[in-house]
């Protein structure tokens, strides 16, 4: 079933996908920090307000994933920030998360060595987002 991107339903499906992934489970073993994704507003893309995805991840599992204001995501241990259209590129597999981070297209806050140690987990997590059928606000 198609869900609106960055909605509560989307967050629920994202959590299910992460918890279904054996690849993520193995790659994120030992991970114990929260991750926030900040999706910056792009009013011209019908995405008028920034949103935040807060992920409570622990030892290869997603304990909780919620969507709310960007300020919630900014409080996480690790924060990845990009405009709406860039996140859309990630979800559409047009931008690889590793390349995006190396190029500075996805801005990263948090301990870099830890993130680099878990590159595979980050890649699989974004891969999980590609498995959720979504409605995009700029495609209505």
């Amino acid at each position: 079933m198609t869900v609106k991107v960055y909605s509560e339903e989307w967050a629920e499906q994202f959590k299910d996908e992460v918890n279904k992934s054996n690849t993520y489970k193995a790659a994120a073993k030992g991970w114990k920090w929260t991750v926030g994704l900040v999706v910056e507003a792009e009013p011209d893309k019908n995405f008028p307000e920034s949103r935040g995805v807060v992920m409570d991840l622990f030892d290869g599992a997603a304990r909780d994933i919620t969507v709310g204001p960007a300020s919630d995501a900014q409080k996480c241990d690790f924060v990845i920030t990009a405009p709406y259209s860039r996140w859309k590129q990630v979800v559409m597999k047009e931008l690889d998360v590793t390349k995006g981070m190396l190029q500075g297209k996805l801005k990263l806050k948090g301990d870099l060595p830890t993130i680099v140690r878990y590159t595979k987990a980050a890649q699989e997590m974004t891969e999980c987002t590609t498995r959720i059928p979504v409605e995009w606000p700029d495609e209505n």
């Binding site: 390349k99 190396l102 870099l112 680099v116």
Partner: protein
């Protein structure tokens, strides 16, 4: 990002700090699948990061983004040498053999490469 990674590593680990302080080298990293790169100029405890490849490089690493990340994930063995016999190390060695990882200036500068690898490694 690579400059930030080195800064964090050096701040957190005294051995990496010693390597960093002793290193004088111009290291180019060209990420082949994004067609972008940087030159890291190490100069007695200082690091300057330039966008693109600057002249007079000691070594230049050409690799895909994923391989650059793998280089950062190489474990360092007891003699301070990168470990090439675990999964990550074997992957890097295979890429080197298959030409998907190229290191210009490798043979005369193996010591420099090992030191750079130690500074880069997050393991």
């Amino acid at each position: 990002m690579l400059g930030g990674l080195i800064e964090a590593n050096v701040r957190a680990n005294v051995h990496k700090r010693q390597d960093f302080d002793a290193l004088v080298a111009r290291v180019g990293i060209w990420v082949t699948d994004i067609d972008e790169g940087v030159t890291l100029v190490f100069d007695d405890g200082r690091l300057t990061v330039y966008n693109g490849l600057e002249p007079r490089r000691t070594i230049t690493i050409h690799a895909e983004a994923e391989t650059v990340m793998s280089l950062s994930n190489l474990k360092i063995g007891p003699l301070g040498l990168p470990v090439y016999y675990d999964d990550v190390g074997r992957g890097v060695a295979l890429k080197l053999l298959r030409g998907r990882l190229k290191i210009d200036g490798l043979l005369p500068n193996i010591g420099t490469l090992n030191r750079v690898t130690r500074i880069f490694s997050v393991q």
